[in-house]
Symmetry: C2
Subunit: 390 residues, 2 copies
């Protein structure tokens, strides 16, 4: 296992405490990150219904999924065999049958059908159909929204989690260096993307470790496409006098460290250099305000004060919690760095301070992954924040 038995046990205890506060007897988790957090389960099987059930008075969580994936659960989790349930293959993608009929039946078998059942209403892979099946087949249960309940337990990271994110940091720095080395006029984006992935997964002498697929794919876009926030590499060719935004994740045991930078081929326009300097000043002021006791609002104000001083506009948030993740996201959906968000920062909180400056016909990105320490904060990466010129 990637964490000690004690750490998994603490996680479960913390989740049960939150369940008690909300009056939840059993909690059905469908977010793969939350499943991994409580059991260690790690497989690309979230394209079919699966979950982890936490029962308030049971020692171990229960994993359920497709029968063929239950072997993966035996290999990657610490769960006893009796707590690993494989539903039959004939429920896979064959409407009107559905895997949540199996889940509802399991709830009845265990006499939980009149209990308070927590479900992650807005989590990835908890579809409207899943919920409809449970509502219909367990009409005497009381359903309580447990969305983000586990995510908020994940809000403060342990030293062991931080250690994996530090390995992710080495990988993402190496990946960004590869981008810097490979971006040249006339080269295809897809070629550079291949080189970057080679580094992010395979590592190098400095990283000492290999990596894993990221919850969010590499974002890489040039020229006008860099004015949009989430475009991915294609066969387009890098051209002179174009900027390229690059957002990468280094991943170890599903823990992410993200990093964004901007590369320019040729001599950049004054406005691009100037906007990057302003953005960097904003990042610096935001980092200064990142300390325990301050709120997300405090950090956001420090960032936007700089932008406003120079008359630069940015509507979208400039940061979000980061850590454990599976596609489609590496964000943990707890804190956001934006004005009026009063979430308090504590030691062990980690976030991606992400300044995406998506303008009318161009864009730039600059970011740092940060962890709160006892007295302030520390950057995961040590990578220059200038506009990289080719």
């Amino acid at each position: 296992m990637n964490f000690t038995a004690e750490e998994y046990s603490n996680r479960l205890a913390n989740v049960k405490n939150k369940m008690s506060e909300k009056g939840i007897d059993l909690l059905i988790l469908s977010d793969p990150s939350n499943m991994n957090y409580l059991t260690g389960y790690d497989g690309w099987s979230f394209y079919v219904p699966q979950g982890v059930i936490v029962v308030i008075d049971r020692d171990e969580p229960i994993w359920f999924g497709r029968k063929q994936d239950s072997k993966g659960a035996r290999i990657t989790t610490f769960l006893k065999d009796e707590n690993i349930l494989g539903y039959p293959e004939n429920l896979i993608q064959s409407p009107p049958s559905h895997p949540y009929d199996y889940v509802a039946n399991y709830i009845h078998e265990n006499k939980w059908a009149n209990k308070n059942i927590g479900v992650e209403m807005d989590s990835y892979y908890y579809t409207a159909e899943n919920h409809k099946r449970l509502l219909k087949q367990c009409p005497n249960a009381k359903f309580i929204n447990g969305h983000l309940l586990v995510n908020w337990v994940r809000y403060i990271k342990s030293e062991a989690e931080i250690a994996y994110m530090k390995q992710g940091a080495k990988l993402v720095q190496a990946g960004m260096q590869t981008a810097y080395n490979e971006i040249k006029p006339g080269v295809k984006q897809s070629f550079v993307a291949g080189k970057i992935q080679e580094t992010l997964l395979g590592g190098n002498e400095e990283t000492q470790t290999g990596g894993e697929y990221a919850g969010l794919n590499m974002i890489l876009a040039s020229g006008k496409s860099a004015s949009a926030s989430h475009l991915t590499p294609t066969d387009k060719i890098f051209k002179d006098n174009e900027g390229t935004i690059i957002e990468l994740g280094g991943v170890k045991h599903r823990y992410h460290c993200a990093l964004s930078r901007t590369v320019y081929i040729g001599k950049p326009d004054h406005k691009i250099e100037e906007t990057l300097k302003i953005t960097n000043e904003g990042i610096e002021r935001a980092i200064e305000k990142t300390k325990p006791g301050n709120t997300c609002h405090d950090v956001a104000v420090a960032f936007w004060d700089v932008l406003e001083k120079y008359g630069v506009e940015k509507e979208s948030r400039c940061g979000y919690s980061i850590g454990l993740g599976y596609p489609p996201d590496w964000g943990e959906h707890t804190l956001s760095i934006r004005k009026n968000e009063k979430t308090v920062l504590h030691p062990g909180v980690t976030f991606h301070l992400m300044a995406g400056m998506w303008m009318d016909t161009w864009g730039l990105e600059l970011s740092e992954s940060i962890r709160l320490t006892e007295n302030g904060c520390e950057l995961f990466c040590n990578f220059p924040r200038n506009l990289h010129l080719v």
Copy 2:
């Protein structure tokens, strides 16, 4: 755009026909593949709510998503600006506010709140919360399940779609060859995974094209882990006398060609070689039965007849439709190759004939991506099906 205006127009007409049959006035699509199919939209923005709305009496679909992503919609779709809606940033991950409040409001503004509204009840990213918001805020609408409606329109591929899948085939063959070249005792899985991704994305002289991220990440697992179906590469080291299952996707313009093979280091056990031969015989018989007019059942019977002849058991389906995809899947969720599935095969249908043989302590995989022709079928790849020995 990756397809002609005529092709997009035909797709929309076909979807509207199905909507009419079901009495749907407007259809809200949340599956990123279906969004791409009707508008061309391509961005890794599906980690926040977004969708495409097809209105039965409007010429163009409507895209909605986060405001910062609306620029990506302007760049990657053919839609008029008036049909691209960006919802405000303050709805992002800030409960109790929610982007579907915006969608519900938009429905009211257009006087659709008493219409028949189709939603993809069981599609990726249509959460229980999304549906709850619509139900509550549009109590006079009649909601109709439009899950798989667009997927079934996608069931038969055009020549242009097939052409992209053929490019994917070149990429996936190159990727598998890289796996064969790089797997050696003492090498880390993550290192090989990096080399494979370099090929899948960057291409080589034979592919003539670069690729894209796949809807399903590379599956690569060795030894006992190969007995599970969906484990992904880690820092584990390849060892003598272990088999490794590898499942890859080559992707062009979001169209996938998948390929699975098995590599063995050393001299394989008789049972592994024997099982692979039997599996290959099953694949060959299944391919012979893959022709227009036959059903999925016919193909499945041909495959399982061989397995039963030799006393080999396999519970899970041995194939599924493949083509356009985004994480978490490259399967299209229409046909499955299994007994008693009466879906009829037609020219232009494409599927991944996938024999995953996950045994007690070991496993093997063997697969082909296939397209139906006028008289029979054609494999996308031309890659030996033997157990590859290192």
